[in-house]
Symmetry: C2
Subunit: 544 residues, 2 copies
């Protein structure tokens, strides 16, 4: 039973009925359809219970009834059934199958799959930053600390990290929020970035930003004043948010970004979204992704100020997803952290609760596979913070090598150190190339019939809108697919290009988009865009 196409209300209803979170959720189940759905699942779970009872009786009598699964779709966590993560959804699974078919020699109109679905830099040919890998190598094999082929600054970083590891080994558990010296380096990095003091004890290292984000979101699971919790997220959004909120049974309160103003954030839209949501839930937090994923906008400082004022007025915890802070391309765009703006606004705003997320996976380093990241929590109530730290302690610690990677990023070679020149050269080369590609992608899409693509000011993605012919929409419907999903599948099967349909991120009803990364290396990106243009014109011809 696929629940992919259920509405949010339906999902909440479904969650409520099975997960024992009935009373408050069911109060919001309004339509007959939802009601029936609830009944069906309830009665399935009940009949499963009866089956189990009968089975136990039979087994006790020694009768060897054939085994029925303990864990079936009827008795599985309904929040897990409801959650969706399009970046790794059915389209990507199909792309993997196609890759295997190609390996086996199956003939296709293309020779390779281009995975433009995920911000996976090294997979697309980006070369690791030498200094980062040197530090990692040295902490892994401390015997190489004597090797003259490694530069002194990398050795110094490695020695410092190892001194922070119990027994001098990255094989030891670290403190749950991370190695103290690395947390201190992160705090210094934030101070340099913002010109605002940062307390290392507010820095919590995590296995990538995703882990950090989930650890903050789960704190919000609490009915307040008899209402279930809700969290504001942008639409389009990065589906980690929708997936996590679904898993946690928290109401997703979407606010639409303004596509006609380069995906900017209108306060009136925030107000509309929260006013509507308040009928059903207690909105407790707001997520802002800046630079935007999948939308690529970079918020101007004034916009951030407005959002902070709104969050203050509505008493919202601010989650600032700032993992693309190094990825700024458009002339005139500049990254301002929410913390910097909030602190510079002074009281009462500078007392607001905020969590900011950063990752080793993006920026110029793109070390996705190492799973390093951090959360800076600001103004969290000390008792709550103690509980937050307690909750993460049961998972022991984030990977010591992911932490070491983070250290190399927040404590890079300084002027005068042996690796400085080459580090800057490598870093600049990656960012300059991404800047060119950001422009190339948007320009190419805008030259295509029925495409409209905003400027990619930052991050790693373009999210163009496409106009689909009515016949294509009908063909999609007849296959039971969303039109943008239908388009993406046709693109994949014809060209090997794997993108993510806009419905995976959310989009205004009746509009169609997709997300593509700007990560393929320049030559490959060029040929990908040519193939894309050719496919698109044939698609339009086919369905017009």
């Amino acid at each position: 039973m696929s629940l992919r196409f259920l509405s949010n209300t339906e999902r909440v209803a479904l969650m409520g009925c099975c997960a024992g979170r009935r009373s408050s959720s069911v109060a919001y189940v309004k339509s007959l359809g939802d009601f029936l759905l609830t009944r069906i699942v309830s009665s399935k779970a009940a009949s499963h219970h009866q089956q189990r009872k009968n089975f136990a009786k039979e087994a006790a009598r020694g009768s060897m009834a054939s085994y029925q699964p303990c864990l079936s779709m009827e008795t599985l966590n309904p929040n897990i059934i409801a959650l969706e993560y399009a970046v790794r959804g059915p389209l990507v699974i199909r792309a993997g199958e196609i890759e295997k078919e190609l390996e086996k020699g199956v003939k296709k109109p293309f020779t390779e799959v281009i995975k433009a679905n995920i911000g996976d830099c090294h997979a697309m040919g980006q070369v690791p930053i030498t200094f980062i890998r040197q530090v990692l190598t040295l902490v892994t094999s401390p015997s190489l600390l004597d090797d003259p082929r490694f530069p002194d600054d990398a050795k110094e970083r490695a020695r410092t990290i190892l001194k922070g590891c119990r027994g001098g080994s990255v094989g030891s558990y670290t403190d749950s929020p991370g190695i103290e010296i690395i947390r201190r380096h992160v705090a210094q990095y934030i101070e340099r970035r913002d010109g605002i003091p940062a307390d290392w004890q507010n820095v919590v290292i995590s296995a990538g930003a995703s882990d950090g984000i989930k650890n903050i979101l789960k704190l919000m699971i609490c009915n307040v004043g008899g209402k279930p919790p809700g969290v504001l997220i942008p639409i389009p959004q990065y589906p980690l948010y929708s997936a996590s909120l679904a898993e946690f049974g928290i109401n997703q309160v979407g606010y639409y970004l303004n596509e006609s103003k380069n995906w900017s954030l209108d306060i009136s839209e925030l107000q509309r979204a929260i006013t509507e949501a308040k009928k059903n839930c207690e909105v407790r937090a707001i997520v802002v992704i800046n630079p935007g994923n999948p939308t690529g906008q970079v918020l101007p400082r004034e916009n951030i100020e407005e959002i902070i004022k709104f969050a203050y007025k509505e008493r919202l915890f601010v989650l600032a997803d700032e993992v693309y802070q190094d990825n700024i391309y458009a002339p005139g765009s500049k990254f301002y952290s929410f913390k910097k703006v909030l602190m510079e606004m002074g009281e009462p705003y500078s007392s607001m609760e905020l969590a900011s997320f950063m990752s080793c996976s993006k920026g110029y380093m793109g070390e996705c596979g190492l799973r390093g990241g951090y959360t800076e929590v600001v103004n969290m109530c000390p008792k709550v913070k103690a509980m937050y730290l307690k909750a993460i302690s049961a998972m022991l610690c984030p990977t010591a090598l992911g932490q070491s990677c983070l250290d190399a990023i927040v404590n890079p070679p300084q002027k005068g150190e042996p690796s400085y020149e080459s580090f800057i050269k490598e870093k600049t080369a990656v960012l300059d190339s991404l800047k060119l590609r950001a422009k190339m992608v948007a320009d190419t899409f805008n030259s295509m019939e029925g495409f409209s693509c905003n400027t990619v000011q930052g991050a790693m993605y373009a999210f163009p809108q496409i106009t689909l012919p009515q016949k294509a929409i009908e063909a999609a419907k007849s296959e039971g697919k969303q039109p943008d999903v239908f388009y993406a599948f046709e693109l994949l099967e014809s060209t090997g290009i794997c993108i993510v349909p806009g419905s995976g991120f959310g989009q205004k009803p009746g509009t169609y988009h997709f997300r593509t990364t700007i990560l393929p290396q320049p030559e490959k990106l060029k040929s990908m865009l040519e193939k894309f243009a050719e496919f698109h014109s044939q698609f339009i011809k086919k369905y017009s």
Copy 2:
């Protein structure tokens, strides 16, 4: 507000009232005390809601009321408040403070803190296995693949892993269940271990076993037949289980291990526990830790067969925590995996659902900081498995370096390969030394007045019972501490030895235990045990 001393029923009540899981949980709230507790928390949340409303009104009027936190103890996820993880609890926090005091030159009756609280091998001086670190170094710095100082077998492993990484870099995201070739190597490892086929598609790599265990447990969050879910866990248990069940709002159904029979598992006790629990919940799964943590027993094959029959009769999903499978010390003890036994029992047992967990953190390798581990799921309903895989996909992937470490463990040097001799020598040295230490610890404790310690047949811990003088129990009470916690704090302050009180794992009411690892290196362990004996005799004198 600390909820540490609440009963399980009280916690469920508390969860229910705040987290919107009211109806079904509250049905089981029986006592007036629970009822009052529920009311208190409800009314706090309600008054917080009123405060927020007032605040919003004031803010709208432009009145700059002083900021109240969005996230307070009244509005924080109550499951997070309820969960406890003693291995990193207040005692360990105090141990960390003492370490800092020592660094600053504060005079103490000892010169170092001995962290016997956690199975952290390298922190206690165990040396990393050379082969593992070589493989990790080579995948991190592929340029070293030409370096003659690295052996060919390590190079071959590294090349194979890199071939499995997109773009040939460990910096790329891997598939969410892990790199295919490493999953295949894990399956081959399981086949060699059990002599039973293993399907690589049933292997899911995780960030340590903890991550894998939580991902399976969360599938169980579902009311069945109007009852909340419950999971059987041993008492004493490893507190990841109690913490995760508390976080997920799943009823913890404890079954006592039989201390008088070397912590063996009595089926009659399982029957007692499940019969009692069925009044309140639907028991859906059983956790067995073998070799035992904190108890060190190794289950004989017949015992495993009995448990499987019990699980079959009661239709339970079996979670086999087998992370200590390499740590077997006692003569006559042998590790049998649950999968092997279940498969060899034939139908209907061989169709039962099982998840088995393994980790890079234990055994002879002890690479805790690298966060590698795997889950093998057996006979999981295919639709459920698809949902399970979907759920983990939102977290992208486990660390590629943790996976590489796992690969080196499951695909170690073979006879005839250049690293074989040294690998076996290093591995044997660690395990032989642990064997001696396991005996040394139990023997020493048994020579101490009021101590009784079972044979440490396996794993990395001793869990002795201690008889505490009545005066000590009263002194503990007057400080508001559990007697075993009181004892552990006195031990820490007097000697620097950090252990975990038995109450952190669960113990029969009126009995007192603690867990210590057997991990300090032999000389240090000897001196630790001497200090311990001296402390204990003075403690007895002081309170008699």
